[in-house]
Point group: C2
């Protein structure tokens, strides 16, 4: 059979089965946007002839990484809110209140570049004005499973004192839900299915029960997932207690939200019992190790969730919290933070971390029939990683293999040389082919500087820890 | 004044003072191996004319990183002992018992390359046969402060059941101490002072009190530091209890080891009281966040050590434990693990982590008069970092600055473009100029494969967790 591309002579991790599906010096055949075959070189060469061959000697061929939870729209505020208390109110908000939608989109593109350059091929982006941001994915050629952030709180809620109940405004809710539904209507399964849309309720504390129920009904009607922050912080728990006299997970269970449609993000404040209940009900979980570690100093109960039978993926969250959107970083943090939490070096091994950035994330997002592993019939989302980087030295394949530990604990992302998304080479020799990288960054930097000027008064008035540190010469 | 090199137009972190010493768009003048001036462009241009100018527009200029504790001699076993119990006995040892000294040196060179490519300019290497390894530093041009690992236990102690007292053999101790003293004699302050030598007692459990006292006496005579593992694990504590009826730190205090000569590495098992005592006595501490997190699932009491007035630096330890020797990784892990340990996002901020990889590490190692910050008269160990990488986007300098959080939490090491060590450009555009990188890796890979063949029987007999995982297809 004639195919378009064969990648050969590389070590392969298919991520099929219960482990990593290692194939020594194998090959992958691709036609159009689809994987035609994965196997030994002999098997693939017997069955296929290709227009183009990529030699992957001394390289690793594996599924592209899936970032299951990312807010690219605020990447333009990377690093403005670290090492502080009230990071959102005092660090991020003084900037964010001056952010215009078109500026958010410009910053988002650099964030997507960052992900692609570290092996991410699928972005589960969850942000406001996704109708604009989605064009970045269209242009750069990445796979995206997007949702509009739906809430019914005013934009200036950042000014509200912590502890006060959020005011709900149903006109805001209606506008944002309409945006999410329009997004679905206009973009779902577009670009040959590379762009897909799900629903994005912001959190159980961010809207009325009425709107939550409306979103649930729409999810049933469209047969789609709900990407939602759940028990993400003590502020949410406090809002739920004051409004309903209940904790988030009890409330969601009572109202029928805990099921396989739900993608529960963070669960930072969930007790072990609540965590087990979410898992038992069939909802998926997304764990953002770096973000919650750096913002809150906490390790959410993801290991307990998985031990309770749940399926969980990893996400990088947002740059002003985590500082980076790099799944290599997430895999490392996820493994080491859980080892330390449980004081056991055997838990959360490298294979588990890698699966949570590939096939398990695909399951959580409902796209495991398309991506997350290398298998005949799945979409060709493939990265090729340079194993001759010192971070991978040496390679052992017999009698033990060390590629996966070194991928998770040592590699950092720059080892990814080539990225193929939906059958197209999007990055080659670390150059993204679909956009101009330098002018994208330079343009975005100018925009950031303009925002800083507009925000200056609010930043100074916020009297944040980070401002003190700058004043004292500590930053 | 005529100088050899001016680096100009970059943002500068001098690491002088109590913070990071930020200079916006500044310049550094270098003559020979020495920094002549650091300041604004105007100041430097007025005072100096250079043979060569490096334009650092959109780049960061800062001191090279100091890896305060690294065993490069076992880098050739990266990734063979992760996610398991008894990592040393069952994971590492079946390989290591077949390692020949010359093979160790070949692997070490790739490890040093890895460090340089991630911004490390000073390596505090602490390993066996340092007389051979030191030649790598001489050749590649890195700064090294080395010590021979001195103990008096037989090489095959890895075969000894855990719980049995180590047998001591004074002839081994004499040979190894002689190697350390010869190393001092032959290499200390060689290469214009780029190579220096200190003493390297392996740990209080690894030799007789007699040999420990002899090393202490030699340290006094040579006026040099003692680089030593202290309270590094429960096995050490158990050995000390069985042999002396004491814990390590009490024992060392009683025998006069706790003073400013001591560089206490790990302190994993130290109680808060013991930690405070080590700090109070003036000894320094090295914290290896990744290694102890991954191997043991623990966070040593480094934050308590610093709160008790102690000076601490970061080290990457060894590749079979940590998997990588990258100080960007260490800074990230150190910050996030301590935030989580103390459940407080404000502790262990980015500035603290960065100082511990530069000026504080230099203080611990006794080389802060030479390196660790950019200051007139210090050695020119400087890295130039590309701020136009997406991981640094955007750069804010007013009214708050975000370069340091993004350096610590987002950058990964590949952003380092240029490395200047002792006034010489060792890496430029990410190419190391002093050795051939690819042939070094290819040659070392062949050696690793030969070791794997010789080790196979022992690896299979060790029946390690990692072997089970390979057999089950999990790796």
């Amino acid at each position: 059979m004639k195919v378009d591309l064969i990648i050969q002579n590389g070590h392969i991790l298919t991520m099929e089965g219960k482990g990593v599906g290692f194939i020594e010096n194998g090959a992958v055949a691709i036609k159009g946007n689809t994987i035609q075959g994965v196997g030994t070189i002999d098997e693939i060469k017997r069955a296929y002839q290709a227009e183009r061959v990529i030699d992957a000697t001394n390289k690793l061929v594996m599924p592209g990484l899936i970032d299951a939870h990312i807010h690219t729209g605020i990447a333009i505020f990377r690093g403005v809110a670290q090492d502080m208390s009230n990071w959102m109110q005092k660090g991020l908000w003084p900037f964010q209140k001056h952010l215009r939608a078109e500026e958010s989109v410009i910053g988002s593109m650099v964030n997507i570049m960052e992900g692609i350059k570290a092996g991410t091929t699928t972005f589960c982006d969850y942000d406001g004005r996704m109708d604009l941001i989605v064009e970045n994915y269209r242009k750069i050629g990445a796979r995206a499973r997007v949702a509009e952030l739906v809430n019914e709180i005013p934009d200036n809620v950042g000014d509200l004192p912590v502890g006060e109940l959020y005011p709900f405004d149903s006109s805001i809710g209606n506008t944002k839900l309409k945006r999410n539904l329009d997004l679905y209507e206009n973009h779902h399964e577009s670009e040959d299915g590379r762009i897909s849309v799900i629903l994005g309720p912001h959190g159980p504390d961010m809207m009325s029960l009425e709107l939550l129920n409306e979103i649930k009904a729409q999810g049933d009607k469209l047969n789609t997932k709900l990407h939602m922050h759940v028990a993400q912080g003590d502020r949410e728990i406090d809002q739920m207690a004051k409004r309903y006299g209940k904790r988030s997970i009890d409330f969601l269970d009572e109202h029928g939200f805990l099921n396989e449609r739900l993608i529960a993000v963070h669960l930072t404040e969930a007790t072990n019992e609540e965590t087990a209940l979410v898992a038992k009900r069939g909802a998926g979980m997304i764990y953002c190790a770096g973000s919650i570690g750096i913002i809150d100093g906490l390790v959410p109960p993801v290991y307990h969730f998985i031990q309770s039978g749940g399926t969980a993926g990893l996400g990088s969250d947002q740059a002003p919290g985590n500082n980076c959107n790099n799944m290599f970083n997430e895999m490392k943090f996820a493994a080491i933070l859980n080892k330390v939490k449980l004081a056991d070096p055997r838990v959360f091994n490298a294979t588990m971390a890698l699966r949570m950035a590939t096939i398990e994330a695909a399951k959580v997002m409902g796209i495991d029939h398309e991506v997350g592993s290398l298998k005949k019939g799945k979409k060709a989302d493939i990265i090729i990683v340079n194993l001759q980087d010192p971070s991978f030295f040496p390679i052992y394949t017999k009698p033990i293999r060390n590629i996966v530990p070194n991928l998770v604990y040592s590699a950092r992302g720059h080892e990814v040389e080539t990225s193929i998304i939906d059958g197209k080479v999007i990055m080659e020799n670390r150059n993204i082919l679909t956009i101009d990288e330098i002018s994208t960054i330079e343009n975005a930097q100018k925009v950031a500087e303009e925002i800083a000027v507009r925000s200056e008064k609010d930043i100074l008035e916020a009297k944040s820890d980070i401002l003190d540190m700058v004043t004292e010469g500590l930053l």
